[in-house]
C-alpha cells in the first residue's frame, strides 16, 4: 500500500483536461493517417497490379522505399528536412503525412496480396454477367479482398495508433508529448510513463478486440450494412413463401 501510494504522487486531476486533449490528438492522428494510408495504399496496390509496366515500377519503388526507411527518419524528413528547404508544414500535417507515407507502403503490400489472392474465375464470372470493370472490382473483387486483407490491416491500424507516439519528437501534442511535459514538471518518469502506457493499452486493446469481432462477423457472412440486412430479410420472407406448384423437386430435395 505504501509503495503504491509512494508510486502515485502526480496530481493527475490537474492534468485531466490536458490529457484529454492529448488523447483526442492521438485519436485524430490515428484516424486521419489511417484513412489516408488505406486510401493511398489501395491506389498503390492497384498501380502495382496495373497492366502498364511504368506504373507498376513506380508503385514498386514507392513501396520498397518507404518500407525500408524508419518511421522516425520519415518524420524528421517531412518536418525538419522539408522545413529546412522552406517547405514548412504544420506539425499536424507533417505528422499525418509521415504516417500516411509509411503505413501506405505496408498496407499496399497487404492489399496487393489480397487482391491477387482472388481467383481469376471471379473476374471472369463477373464479366460473363455483363458487369463492367468498375462493378467487377467494386462488387466482386474488393469485398473478397477486404476479407483477406482485414487481419493484416487491423494489425497495421493498431500499430499506427502506437506509432503516433513517435510524433513526440516533433512535439505533436499527442499522448506521448503530453507525458513528456508532465514528466518535466513533476520529475515522476516511472509513474507518468506507466500511466501513459496504460492509456495506450486502454485504447489499443479494445480496438483490436473490436476489429477481431468485425473480422469474425464478416467471415460468418453477417450483413453489416442496414441495406444488406433489409435485402436479406426481404429475401428470407420471399423464399419462405409456398413453393411454386410447377416443377418436380430435384432428386436432392426429394430425399432431403
Amino acid at each position: 500500500m505504501t509503495t503504491a501510494a509512494g508510486l502515485f504522487q502526480v496530481p493527475w486531476s490537474d492534468y485531466r483536461s490536458d490529457l484529454l486533449d492529448a488523447l483526442l490528438k492521438t485519436v485524430s492522428y490515428t484516424a486521419v493517417s489511417f484513412a489516408g494510408a488505406a486510401l493511398l495504399g489501395l491506389v498503390v496496390a492497384l498501380l502495382r497490379l496495373s497492366r502498364v509496366w511504368p506504373l507498376r515500377a513506380l508503385a514498386a519503388v514507392y513501396t520498397e522505399l518507404f518500407k525500408n526507411i524508419p518511421l522516425l527518419a520519415i518524420i524528421f524528413l517531412t518536418y525538419f528536412g522539408l522545413g529546412s528547404v522552406d517547405i514548412r508544414l504544420d506539425v499536424f500535417t507533417a505528422g499525418c503525412l509521415s504516417l500516411i507515407v509509411f503505413y501506405s507502403a505496408y498496407l499496399s503490400e497487404i492489399f496487393r496480396a489480397a487482391i491477387s489472392g482472388i481467383h481469376d474465375g471471379q473476374t471472369e464470372a463477373g464479366e460473363a454477367l455483363g458487369l463492367g470493370r468498375l462493378s467487377v472490382f467494386g462488387h466482386v473483387i474488393f469485398p473478397q479482398a477486404l476479407r483477406l486483407a482485414l487481419p493484416g490491416t487491423n494489425t497495421m491500424l493498431v500499430d499506427l495508433l502506437k506509432g503516433t507516439s513517435l510524433l513526440v519528437t516533433i512535439s505533436a501534442a499527442e499522448l506521448m508529448s503530453e507525458a513528456r511535459l508532465i514528466t518535466s514538471s513533476t520529475f515522476r518518469a516511472l509513474e507518468v510513463y506507466l500511466v501513459i502506457s496504460a492509456v495506450y493499452f486502454a485504447l489499443c486493446y479494445p480496438l483490436s478486440q473490436l476489429l477481431l469481432a468485425v473480422e469474425r462477423a464478416i467471415r460468418a457472412g453477417k450483413p453489416l450494412t442496414p441495406g444488406r440486412r433489409r435485402r436479406l430479410s426481404t429475401a428470407r420472407a420471399l423464399l419462405a413463401e409456398a413453393p411454386a406448384p410447377a416443377g418436380t423437386p430435384s432428386p436432392k430435395e426429394a430425399t432431403a
Binding site: Q122, Q144, R231
Partner: protein, 272 residues
C-alpha cells in the same frame, strides 16, 4: 427434341470449314474461327451454328480447344481470325471486337463454368441478383426473379446460404440460376458436371434437362456422352482445334465416320 435437325453449318462427315445449308435463326454463328496462344494454334477454322431452341454439344479430348471455343463466344477470349455473330449481330470479325456493347452481349449469352465461380461473399440469392441490379433492374424485382430462379433449380430453401455452405451440385445449380437471371438467349456450359460426384451430377443434369425441355438454346462442352446424346440436337467432335466431325448425336456418337472420333469414343467407353 428427339428429331435430328440440321443444326449446324456442317454436314456430318465433313472435316472442317465447309458451309452446309444454313438454318434461318442461329443465335450463335461462328465462321472460320482461329485462335493461337503463344504461336500455338488452339482453334483452327472452326465453323459452327447454334440455332435458336437447339442444343449443341462439343465433345473431345482434353486440350482440344473446347473451352477456348466457348470462351470466344462471349469474348472472354479474343479470337485472332474469323467471325462470330450472336443474336444476329456481328460481335467479332478478324481479330477485332466489333461488338458495340460488350455488356449487352454478355447479357445475351449466359455462361456456366466448370468450377461454378459463385461469388463467395454473397448468399445464393444475392449471387442471382447482382447482375440484374447492375443492369438496372429495381432491387425488389431482381430479388423476386432471383427467388423464382432458385425455386426453378430446386434451391429456394438454400437461398440464404453462402457458396461455401453448399454442396458442389447446389453451387452449380445456383450458378445456372445466376446465368439465367438476365434472360439470356443462349447458355454456354463448360463441363458443368466435371467437378461433381455422380449424385450432384444428376442434380445438375436434371436442371439442364428442364431447361432443354423449356426450349433454352444451349452450347455445351461435356464429357457426359449419354447426356449429350439424350438432349443434344447436334454434336461436334473437336480435336486439335478443329471440328473433326459434327452431326446429329445418333450419327456422331452412334456411327462416327472419322477415325479420330471413333478412337475418342473407344477410349471414352473403355474408361467408363
Amino acid at each position: 427434341m428427339t428429331e435430328p435437325v440440321t443444326a449446324a453449318a456442317q454436314a456430318p462427315g465433313t472435316t472442317t470449314g465447309t458451309t452446309a445449308p444454313r438454318p434461318t435463326d442461329a443465335v450463335i454463328r461462328i465462321r472460320d474461327l482461329g485462335k493461337s496462344f503463344d504461336g500455338r494454334r488452339v482453334l483452327d477454322d472452326v465453323s459452327l451454328d447454334v440455332p435458336r431452341g437447339r442444343i449443341v454439344s462439343i465433345i473431345g479430348q482434353s486440350g482440344g480447344g473446347k473451352t477456348t471455343l466457348l470462351r470466344c463466344v462471349n469474348l472472354l477470349e479474343r479470337p485472332d481470325t474469323g467471325t462470330i455473330e450472336v443474336a444476329g449481330e456481328t460481335v467479332h470479325s478478324d481479330g477485332r471486337i466489333v461488338c458495340r456493347d460488350l455488356a449487352r452481349l454478355r447479357r445475351t449469352v449466359g455462361m456456366v463454368f466448370q468450377r461454378f465461380h459463385l461469388f463467395p461473399h454473397l448468399t445464393a440469392v444475392e449471387n442471382v441478383m447482382l447482375a440484374q441490379v447492375k443492369a438496372g433492374v429495381p432491387e425488389r424485382q431482381a430479388l423476386e426473379r432471383a427467388v423464382v430462379l432458385l425455386r426453378r433449380v430446386g434451391l429456394a430453401h438454400r437461398g440464404l446460404a453462402h457458396p461455401d455452405q453448399m454442396s458442389g451440385g447446389e453451387q452449380q445449380r445456383v450458378a445456372i440460376a445466376r446465368a439465367l437471371a438476365l434472360k439470356p438467349e443462349v447458355l454456354l456450359f463448360d463441363e458443368p458436371t466435371s467437378s461433381l460426384d455422380p449424385e450432384a451430377t444428376r442434380e445438375v443434369l436434371w436442371v439442364m434437362r428442364e431447361l432443354a425441355e423449356e426450349g433454352m438454346t444451349m452450347m455445351l462442352v461435356t464429357h457426359e456422352l449419354p447426356f449429350a446424346r439424350e438432349v443434344s440436337d447436334w454434336v461436334a467432335f473437336v480435336d486439335g482445334g478443329r471440328i473433326i466431325e459434327a452431326g446429329p448425336p445418333a450419327e456422331v456418337l452412334g456411327r462416327p465416320q472419322q477415325a479420330r472420333t471413333r478412337a475418342f469414343l473407344t477410349t471414352y467407353e473403355s474408361a467408363e
